[in-house]
């Protein structure tokens, strides 16, 4: 991704709108007793479009904003979201996205990773209350929602960031997947 000042402004707007949408809309609606979480899907999509650095930085920023706005432990969400953003970016750097199903599938899998990661961070920080098995249902359903929401999010963001993306048609991406760091 070529980050010009204009693209940077777009990325900042995407981050802020995503956080506001999550806290004011998605967290407050329930489908089968579970609220969708679009933030991992947004971070994953940005990672898939912009690479590991864009994914990690946007994940860190979104996590920081969420923790600040809800006055929760700063750094917990940042750590988890930067990890999933980085993983999504690594995937993009190593493999070609051949099918339109890849982004939503990745959103589903990495959202589950984010939910597990977030649970692990919370448990490490100390949870005094007993944990219900319904937490597992919450994680699984959030991942399923991420699959369905990941598709419009990924293609919407691709459209919004199109000027910054290297045109896939112009660049041959038929090379073999390479291992990061190898010559």
């Amino acid at each position: 991704m070529i980050v010009t000042p204009r693209i940077f402004a777009r990325l900042a707007a995407i981050v802020i709108v995503a956080v506001l949408l999550q806290l004011s809309f998605f967290s407050r609606v329930e489908l089968v007793h579970v609220s969708p979480d679009i933030l991992p899907a947004v971070v994953i999509s940005l990672g898939l479009l912009g690479g590991s650095m864009t994914g990690a930085v946007s994940g860190f920023t979104i996590g920081f904003l969420v923790d600040s706005l809800l006055v929760e432990a700063l750094g917990a969400s940042s750590l988890v979201l930067l990890a999933v953003g980085y993983l999504a970016g690594l995937f993009r750097e190593r493999f070609d996205i051949h099918s339109a199903l890849v982004p939503p599938l990745l959103c589903m899998v990495l959202t589950l990773v984010a939910e597990l990661g977030f649970g692990a961070v919370q448990l490490m920080l100390g949870v005094d209350a007993p944990v219900s098995v319904l937490v597992i249902r919450d994680m699984l359903l959030k991942s399923v929602y991420a699959f369905f929401l990941g598709w419009p999010i990924y293609f919407g963001l691709r459209r919004a960031l199109r000027p910054a993306l290297v045109e896939e048609s112009r660049v041959s991406r038929r090379r073999q997947p390479t291992i990061l760091g190898a010559r």
Binding site: I16, L20, L21, Q22, L23, S24, F25, S27, R28, V29, E30, L31, V32, H33, S35, D37, L39, S52, M53, A56, V57, F60, G63, F64, L65, V66, D67, S68, L69, L70, V71, E72, A73, L74, G75, A76, S78, L79, L82, Y86, E115, F118, G119, Q122, L125, V127, D128, A129, P130, V131, S132, V133, L134, V135, I136, R137, D138, L180, G181, R183
Partner: protein, 283 residues
């Protein structure tokens, strides 16, 4: 060139990871208040505007969800209605009797009761946390409305939680189902006391722990805040605020783990308007 890029990427990643741990350290060192306060103050008007703009869309999704759920709930509610009617009749009789007794005894409100000092401030929920591990909402009233940290928060149905932090025009409320929540409560009418804790992940299940009585608790009994006061210290919650209804209370469970389960009266998953009880005791 490629190696340089990889090195730069690793440096940024390391910087971000260290940054996250640094933020966690700052949070647990209790020095993050100013930073979070600043971000919240900047974003609260945006959140408020987003909340109002997105309300119709939220209501639409809620309508679909609730219609789906209502089918199964209908028969259960019919059964509850019969019981509620009986209780309402009994309640009206009790109210009449109460009024007569008060008149007879010229009973004034006890000035020692903390509840008399509370002033309700109505607020609207403008944001909610996205995970089940932390259950907090942001409301559109803050210190300029008289709200202070640790003020109790109620909805029309009962206790919702307490204020965790305050900015000028907004506050964060830690709900009863947050992992850090603990409320002293008692079961009516016996007055069996305990500490109310959440069961993480299930917004319709609370656990009344450390029951300090040999008297057993039965399903269907109401649980209210105990609002204790002793040796100059007082509970943060006024006494008698309704919390929920006992749903599971087996003798084995009570004897083995000294706990019973209850369902909160307030719909903690779907809050819109709440009241902050300001001006009360802060222990």
């Amino acid at each position: 060139m490629y190696r340089k890029q990889v090195r730069r990427r690793r440096a940024v990643l390391t910087f971000l990871i260290i940054g996250s741990f640094l933020l966690l350290t700052i949070t647990y060192g209790q020095r993050s208040g100013g930073l979070q306060h600043g971000v919240s103050t900047i974003f609260s008007p945006l959140q408020s505007a987003a909340d109002r703009a997105l309300k119709p869309a939220r209501d639409l999704v809620d309508w679909f969800d609730k219609t789906f759920e209502a089918r199964g709930e209908n028969s259960r509610l019919k059964d509850q209605l019969v019981v509620a009617r009986r209780q309402a009749v009994a309640g009206q009789e009790a109210l009449q009797e109460n009024a007569q007794l008060r008149k007879m005894l010229e009973l004034d409100r006890d000035p020692a009761l903390a509840s008399s000092a509370y002033e309700p401030v109505t607020g609207r929920v403008i944001a909610r946390s996205p995970t089940v591990w932390q259950s907090a909402v942001t409301i559109d009233v803050g210190s300029s409305d008289g709200v202070k940290v640790k003020d109790p928060v109620v909805s029309g149905d009962g206790l919702v939680g307490q204020v965790a932090s305050v900015q000028g025009g907004s506050s964060q409320v830690r709900l009863l189902i947050d992992n850090a929540s603990a409320v002293s409560a008692k079961v009516l009418p016996e007055g069996v006391q305990g500490v109310l804790r959440p069961e993480l992940g299930d917004p319709e299940d609370l656990v009344l722990d450390f029951l300090n009585s040999s008297r057993s608790v039965r399903r269907g009994q109401s649980v209210v805040t105990s609002g204790w006061r002793a040796q100059g210290l007082a509970s943060l919650f006024p006494p008698g605020l309704p919390i929920g209804e006992v749903t599971e209370a087996s003798i084995v469970q009570q004897e083995a783990s000294q706990q019973v389960h209850l369902r909160p009266y307030a719909d903690l998953a779907d809050l819109d308007l709440v009241q902050v009880l300001t001006g009360g005791s802060r222990g």
